[in-house]
């Protein structure tokens, strides 16, 4: 049984690696690439002279202080190790594929406790949607923390299930894994609370209360993986916590209104999930959530299902407080979707078994997975723009007034056009593409090296606008600067504008 999760994890990572090339660099990824470059420079010093490196941690690790160091350290190590053979950006992204594989591994493990089919289906249900599939490619933290959300749960359950007959073995792995999750992203702050409540509600309460203190290993892991904390740790920890407890609110378009500040709609994360994911998956996840809640109310949950309910709830509930920042589509509560998939897979298999048909499981799985597979085929790599059937797909979501896209990765669609038409040294206003991502596009060969980064439409020869409700002023600004309203090219997904390119009249490609 252990081979199946490994196989599924391997195939997931391979699928990400094989489909990553067209995925644009998100704003955040640009920052993490820059951080990885800085950390790599520090690693080179460290391998040569550890004492000198330790003395300079502040200089190399202060960049992107708001996120712990582990994933960026892995991006840096991967780049250091693989760039002789792999392109830079692929080398940075490799650890992300590893985390995507780990997520599949742990979802499969949770599913297998129900049936072999559920073990296969749980990761498939998670990945068979363009939003989740897209996030699996990024050198970011959302899928890694989602994976560890599941991983910490599996390790916790393993520690609780260890038979007394095998003698006492300290749950070191659980403590270390929680430390790793803490070193990936601050979402992990809420996990001890979930585990404590879980431990108090299950029959194995004593064992749980003996296991939980092992999370005290986590600060050691956090400090070991984050050299920024090696000097003045309290100040850096304070900065980390303060950044997230005082996080800025980005404007977000939701049913025709731009949400700018709290209070946000209480059902916001559930509604966005329902609209962004394929409808059969939404229905199945809703059934899974209801099934867990009903069985919880009837006290029929075993330790694993109770934990799945707790972890799924803890992933989404902070975003229903009405004050937590809500930007970023569904990425901040991916673990909510992930932790419901084992139950959803179990329900699907159960429904198929009850039907009593031959191949009923395969038919039901195809019915649920094919719309998501089509979404991937149709929309990849434009994952932040994807909407499901309940929203009326991309055009329906645009009519409803839902956030069109976020970050700036969709710009990849027009880079070949810019490469083909821009005269040497042309200045392009890339709008939401930050300098870090622009540099990454040049580094990866996706953008010509002579194309310059313009600060605004007025000093640009070409403009590549990302359609964002809150940045609508940029388009008239471009019309005023260029004296034309006619785009040169663009990315339109099912007719809905995502990227609109303007060229100054007279320049190559201008209409």
């Amino acid at each position: 049984m252990k081979r199946l999760p490994v196989l599924i994890g391997f195939f997931t990572a391979a699928a990400m690696a094989l489909t990553q090339a067209p995925v644009g660099f998100t704003r955040d990824e640009g920052y993490y690439f820059t951080a990885a470059q800085s950390y790599e420079a520090w690693l080179k010093i460290f391998f040569h002279s550890p004492a000198a490196a330790i003395a300079q941690t502040e200089r190399y690790w202060s960049y992107n202080f708001e996120h712990p160091g582990l994933t960026k350290l892995l991006f840096a190590l991967s780049h250091l190790a693989f760039t002789p053979w792999l392109p830079d950006t692929l080398a940075w992204r490799l650890p992300a594929f590893f985390f995507a594989g780990l997520l599949s591994y742990w979802l499969c493990v949770l599913g297998l406790s129900r049936s072999r089919a559920a073990g296969i289906l749980a990761p498939l249900l998670f990945w068979c949607a363009e939003r989740t599939f897209f996030h699996g490619h990024l050198a970011c933290f959302d899928v890694p923390i989602c994976a560890l959300w599941a991983g910490v749960g599996v390790a916790w359950l393993a520690a609780l299930r260890r038979l007394p007959a095998t003698g006492y073995r300290p749950p070191v792995w659980f403590g270390i894994l929680y430390g790793i999750s803490l070193a990936v992203k601050h979402n992990a702050w809420v996990l001890p609370g979930v585990l404590l409540v879980h431990g108090l509600l299950i029959r194995e309460r004593r064992r749980a209360l003996l296991t939980l203190p092992w999370i005290l290993l986590s600060p050691i892991v956090l400090v070991a993986c984050w050299p920024l904390l090696w000097h003045d740790p309290l100040r850096h920890l304070g900065d980390w916590i303060a950044f997230h407890t005082h996080h800025v609110h980005y404007a977000w378009w939701y049913f025709g209104a731009v949400l700018r500040a709290p209070p946000f709609p209480i059902a916001y994360p559930l509604v966005v999930d329902a609209l962004a994911l394929p409808l059969p998956l939404v229905v199945l996840l809703a059934a899974a959530g209801l099934s867990l809640l009903v069985d919880f109310a009837r006290r029929r949950l075993d330790a694993q299902r109770l934990l799945e309910l707790g972890l799924a709830g803890a992933a989404v509930l902070p975003f229903m407080l009405r004050t937590t920042p809500i930007f970023g589509g569904i990425k901040h509560w991916l673990a909510f979707v992930a932790l419901l998939t084992p139950e959803a897979a179990g329900l699907l298999v159960k429904a198929a078994d009850l039907a009593g048909f031959r191949r009923a499981v395969q038919i039901a799985a195809a019915a649920v997975l094919l719309p998501g597979a089509w979404q991937i085929v149709h929309l990849h790599p434009y994952g932040t723009s994807a909407y499901g059937e309940l929203a009326g797909d991309v055009p329906g979501a645009a009519t409803l007034g839902m956030q069109r896209q976020y970050w700036s990765n969709n710009v990849t669609a027009v880079l070949p056009w810019l490469n083909a038409h821009c005269p040497p040294g042309a200045r392009v206003y890339f709008h939401e593409v930050n300098v870090e991502s622009y540099r990454a596009y040049i580094l990866s060969g996706m953008l010509r090296g002579d194309i310059r980064y313009a600060g605004g439409p007025a000093d640009a020869d070409y403009v590549a606008l990302q359609w964002h409700r809150e940045f609508r002023d940029r388009e008239p600004e471009t019309w005023n600067a260029f004296g034309t309203h006619r785009p040169a090219t663009g990315l339109y997904l099912d007719e809905v504008p995502q990227i609109v390119v303007y060229a100054r009249p007279g320049l190559p490609g201008a209409p």
Binding site: A251, G256, A257, V258, R260, A261, P278, L279, P280, V283, L284, L347, L348, A351, A352, L354, A355, G356, F357, A360, I363, A364, A366, A367, V368, L370, P371, W374, Q375, H378, G388, E389, A391, G392, D393, P395, G396, A398, T399, L400, R469, E470, R472, D473, E475, P476, E477, W479, N480, H485, R486, P487, G490, Y492, D494, E495, V496, P497, V500, P511
Partner: protein, 259 residues
Amino acid sequence: MNRLPAAGYRLPFVFIVVLGIGSLAFDLTLSARLPSDGDWAEAAAALRANTQPGDAVQIWPVWAERARSFVDTMPVLAEEDPIGADYAGVRRLWVLSLPRTPFFSLPDLANRGATPASGERRFGALALRAWDLHAPAIAADLTASAEQHEVDYVARRCVRVPIGAHFAVRGAAGTALHVRAGVIGERAYDNGRPPVEVRVVVDGTPLVELAVPRAERDGTGWRKADVPLPPGAPDRDFEFFVSSPDAGRPFCLAAWTTR
């Protein structure tokens, strides 16, 4: 305990399979409900063949902005409220729409007193119909601006007037003055900002004051004042004084008179 009939056990399975097939069918047929390049080109050609002075195109839904790549003979407008929009200077409005897209609902321009000026023509997934707006004729476009700025998420033809400055122009009076004003871009929503006042003086006599408070809801940032002009000379001096304790926001003004 009663046992369900066999069909009852199959219900969840049947439900999920039907839902999956339905969802996939919706996805796979979506492109058939969207216009092709050929549809756009044909609609643009029809507009080219029928263009008259004072024509403009309103796209619907407002995200159908790919029209800008094809329509080259008249302004393409993306007003979000076609019933309440000014359409200043537009005599005939062509509504170019995608009626087979999800949640499509076209506001009835008859509710603003417009009447159809043509039958509906179809170009694949596109629909085109002209409307006579029966708008009063413009006497003078006082702010006649070639520039456009976004206020309330709509590109508007207006002049940028710094807060604290004034805009003066001489023009035909007509019978009514129409003033529109708003803060450009997202700064309209800045918390705790004082309102902007627009004081209109005609031939040295104060005529009207228009307050532009901080926009709290989308769709409330483009403020309007429509006032009759007292009898007098056919041409007048119009002055617009823009003031606010907070002068840091970009501000846009449009004004015209009608006969």
